[in-house]
């Protein structure tokens, strides 16, 4: 098993796996709920109604955050793999990634949470 030497590399690796697993789990649930359109409007609308609960609105922000982190960190991995100087700058890339993550997440979370209808 690959374990990195703590710090940024270790954390980015753990987050990459955790967010990947979380998104995969949601993908499987999402395939099942979308499958229900085949059974007509009554069933589909009843099931989609569940997602309108405020708990899922918070979960939606978590989903976006997981996909965004996984995407940005994936770009960092590709840069380290293919850019000859990438590995030397892996910490800078990680902190750049964190800044970009926060900059995108703030307006997205604001917009998503403003959709909540109590």
């Amino acid at each position: 098993m690959m374990i990195y030497r703590g710090k940024e590399g270790q954390w980015s690796w753990i987050f990459h796996r955790v967010t990947g697993l979380g998104v995969l789990l949601f993908l499987l649930i999402h395939i099942i709920d979308t499958m229900l359109v085949g059974w007509g409007p009554d069933l589909y609308n009843k099931v989609i109604e569940i997602y309108r609960h405020p708990v899922f609105a918070v979960g939606e922000v978590g989903l976006f955050a997981a996909v965004l982190y996984h995407a940005l960190n994936g770009i960092r991995i590709i840069l380290v793999d293919f850019w000859p100087d990438g590995a030397r700058h892996h910490k800078t890339l990680f902190y750049g990634e964190m800044v970009l993550f926060v900059v995108i997440m703030v307006p997205v979370a604001f917009l998503m949470l403003s959709h909540i209808h109590f």
Partner: protein
């Protein structure tokens, strides 16, 4: 001691197995495509629209309107790349945490079967759906 310049953030490039090399490359190519497809999907469905505007009629219009074939193709590409990217990611996790032997074979079989079933079900719905 490993020098900082030797640290790689991704998996080391696999050598000695053409399948592993292909899988390694697939994760990077599908990853870039998924960045566009998944974040595009999130932007359209969760930021421009929201769970309060999405219902059966929304899906029916989206998959049957003038842009119906475009969205069906988009959704199918996202579905298949995400599922294959995700199940290959889970495969590397199982490889890490389960020792070679019977149980690894068992869980790998579960993984491959589930991937096949979800891909089949998803593809059938995306391409055979017709509104009532």
């Amino acid at each position: 001691m490993t020098e900082p310049s030797d640290i790689r953030a991704g998996r080391p490039i696999p050598t000695g197995s053409s399948f592993e090399l292909f899988a390694w490359f697939f994760m990077r190519v599908s990853g870039v495509l998924l960045l566009l497809l998944a974040l595009g999907h999130l932007a359209v469905m969760h930021l421009i629209n929201s769970i309060h505007t999405i219902d059966y009629d929304f899906v029916a219009e989206r998959w049957s309107g003038d842009w119906g074939m475009f969205w069906r193709s988009y959704d199918w590409l996202l579905l298949s790349l995400a599922l294959l990217h995700g199940s290959n990611g889970l495969r590397t996790i199982l490889d890490d945490f389960i020792r070679p032997g019977g149980w690894r074979t068992f869980w790998m079989s579960v993984l491959y079967s589930a991937t096949f079933i979800f891909l089949a079900v998803g593809s059938i719905i995306v391409f055979t759906f017709s509104p009532l």
